[in-house]
């Protein structure tokens, strides 16, 4: 149990009255952690026993934990991890009291755990009364996860030993859960401790959700495991950030390109107190990276990662700006990469240098995920140990092993406020229409409704189906925002000399439909 051990160290080494976690409303010094976490765990154990008494008992019940960006949220997460309790970590449902507004949780979760908002006049004593801030309920639609009945050893149990699961932001509605082993997740976090040099003296400000892999795995866990102080911001806005920055004087921050843009407008003087500011989430434009990097004394780095693998590659804060703009630096310790088709098991092309310098990026992460389960707790995919993970990103390897990832942002677009991955739409259309391949590209410039899309496919049917008829078939089958605005059926798809589909040409055809044919 790496978390429990490292937490113990954090508590042992904490300087009283200095090392702390805050959210602006509550502050807890690390010396207080044992007592508070014990109270939370006592409350949970009692609650689970009571609720389980009513229904059938299960060996390893899974809790769906809706974790807000607050001290109570983080403390509860720490308590669950300390006990090795299997959890599905979810962002909080918005409404506090209305049951109808609760987001659905996976069927195999026996319990839902959520955090009550503290009244504005709540005192520090609130943290010592878990019954006041925790709400534990049994899940009315609970159905136990199926036992793995395949040949012995083929499938690992989904719920034990200690797991932590995260929902992926699937753009097609049907979501899946990324399953992490908690110990492996901690090693992933310790990788970040090493990479970004988290120490007890650091102060890490967290303006991004701690219920997601980025905020939790790359910042919150590394901070608590290294004993750094923590400031958690909820619903970050510029004024709030500036207020808290003045008080907390952070040395480490994890942001998104959107936050960089926001902070750039508010930072009227150059920041010198930061050791490292990490940005991730989506590709950051060169102009924004350069401007924000200058405003923070040159300590901005772009991290490449995912819910599946956690932090995978990043530059070092001291790297030259050109390097930080064009690359995501070197892979994290232990991570191996390959471009193009992954090597056959048993061969290690990554070692002998005979592989391509450019292509689809595959990663082998020693501290990556175990696989995906669906909402019933059935394995959809189990990552083979030491297996290659297809990131679906295109990448290039520069001399010296520097990694350049591109086209990631180009693969997803905003449609009526939803982030839609073009590859997902293509896959769904291929399934639905029974044609392959389908290519989906941007069609012209973004409007208030989002990015217009066009779908292209080839059909040998006689007569050739019309684009409009294909589009009609999608209605009711796919979410409206995922249905491309125009469909074109061609004799053949335009190809590049490499044999790949010429997407640029498709985009031109989509922007000027008269060019078709």
């Amino acid at each position: 149990m790496i978390f429990a051990e490292k937490l113990e160290q954090t508590i042992q080494n904490a300087v009283p009255g200095v090392d702390h976690m805050t959210d602006g409303q509550f502050t807890v010094y690390y010396g207080e952690l044992p007592e508070i976490l014990r109270k939370i765990n006592a409350f949970l154990n009692e609650g689970l026993k009571e609720l389980q008494g009513q229904s059938s008992t299960q060996e390893a019940p899974c809790i769906a934990f809706e974790c807000p960006n607050s001290v109570t949220g983080a403390l509860t997460l720490f308590a669950l991890l300390q006990q090795g309790q299997t959890v599905v970590l979810l962002p909080p449902s918005e409404a506090d009291e209305q049951a109808s507004a609760l987001r659905p949780i996976p069927r195999f979760c026996a319990f839902r755990l959520s955090i009550r908002k503290a009244p504005s006049d709540a005192t520090h004593q609130w943290l010592h009364q878990p019954a006041s801030f925790l709400r534990l309920e049994s899940h009315p639609d609970y159905v136990p996860a199926p036992e793995a009945e395949t040949p012995a050893g083929a499938l690992a149990p989904t719920l034990s030993p200690a797991r932590l699961m995260l929902r992926t932001s699937g753009s097609m509605g049907a979501s899946k859960l990324v399953v992490h082993d908690q110990d492996t997740l901690m090693r992933n976090a310790l990788n970040c401790v090493e990479k970004y040099h988290f120490t007890r003296e650091d102060r890490a400000i967290i303006p991004v959700p701690i219920a997601h892999m980025y905020g939790m795995g790359a910042e919150l866990l590394p901070a608590i495991l290294s004993g750094a102080s923590i400031d958690i911001l909820d619903r970050t806005n510029l004024l709030k950030y500036l207020d808290r920055e003045r008080i907390f004087r952070p040395t480490i921050a994890f942001v998104t390109p959107g936050l960089c843009e926001m902070l750039l407008k508010g930072f009227r003087t150059v920041r010198t107190g930061y050791k490292v500011i990490v940005t991730s989430g989506q590709r950051i434009s060169d102009g924004l990276l350069e401007a924000f990097d200058a405003k923070v004394g040159g300590c901005l780095v772009n991290q490449y990662g995912s819910s599946e693998l956690g932090a995978t590659a990043a530059c070092d804060p001291g790297d030259p700006l050109e390097l930080k703009m064009s690359t995501v630096g070197h892979p994290f310790p232990g991570v191996t990469l390959t471009l193009g088709a992954p090597p056959v098991v048993g061969e290690d092309r990554a070692e002998n240098g005979a592989e391509a310098d450019e292509g689809e990026l595959h990663c082998r992460h020693p501290y990556g995920f175990l696989g995906y389960v669906d909402e019933t707790g059935t394995w959809l995919y189990q990552a083979p140990p030491q297996g290659w993970y297809a990131t679906k990103d295109l990448a290039r390897r520069l001399p010296g092993g520097l990694l350049q990832v591109f086209d990631r942002a180009g693969n997803s677009v905003n449609r009526r406020g939803y982030l839609v991955a073009l590859a997902d739409v293509e896959k769904q259309l291929e399934r639905l229409l029974g044609v392959e391949p389908v290519q989906v590209v941007r069609a012209g410039i973004e409007t208030a409704q989002g990015q217009p899309l066009a779908a292209f496919c080839v059909s040998d049917q006689e007569p050739r189906p019309s684009g409009a008829s294909l589009r009609e078939r999608c209605k009711g089958e796919l979410p409206p925002w995922a249905i491309p605005d125009a469909f074109y059926v061609l004799d053949t798809l335009p190809l590049l000399t490499t044999g790949k589909v010429d997407r640029q040409k498709l985009m031109m055809m989509a922007a000027n439909p008269t060019l078709e044919g």
Binding site: N237, L239, M262, F267, T269
Partner: protein
């Protein structure tokens, strides 16, 4: 100095008329859909009230600088003044007084210097 007239009028404004000017700026000059009469003086400008996001706040700050002839320093960018239209109006009034005083003092000095 071209800003003097606005500076002076800001000085003579009472808090309530600053509130009205603020409401006008928010409803007419800021890129959000809200009617002047619908703005409650005590509602938050931020997430729980008018819902101005960070971009809108930055926009509002430059509009305030233009309209009131003031200069917002980074320490003025804080949650407290932006808690409501009323708190912001009070803040602007005291800023106008301070910055006006500084300006007036400067003018006074130069006047004295001219006399001397």
């Amino acid at each position: 100095m071209s800003t003097t007239p606005t500076g002076n009028s800001a000085l003579t404004n009472t808090a309530s008329s600053t509130i009205d000017r603020l409401k006008l700026i928010i409803s007419h000059q800021l890129d959000i859909k809200v009617d002047q009469t619908e703005i409650d003086s005590d509602v938050s400008l931020l997430e729980d009230g008018l819902g101005l996001d960070s971009i809108a706040i930055v926009e509002l700050v430059s509009l305030l600088e233009e309209n009131f002839g003031l200069k917002f320093e980074e320490e003025d960018l804080s949650m407290e003044p932006f808690a409501s239209v009323r708190t912001l109006a009070n803040y602007i009034d005291s800023m106008a007084q301070e910055q006006g005083k500084a300006q007036g003092l400067g003018e006074g000095l130069s006047a004295q210097e001219a006399q001397a």
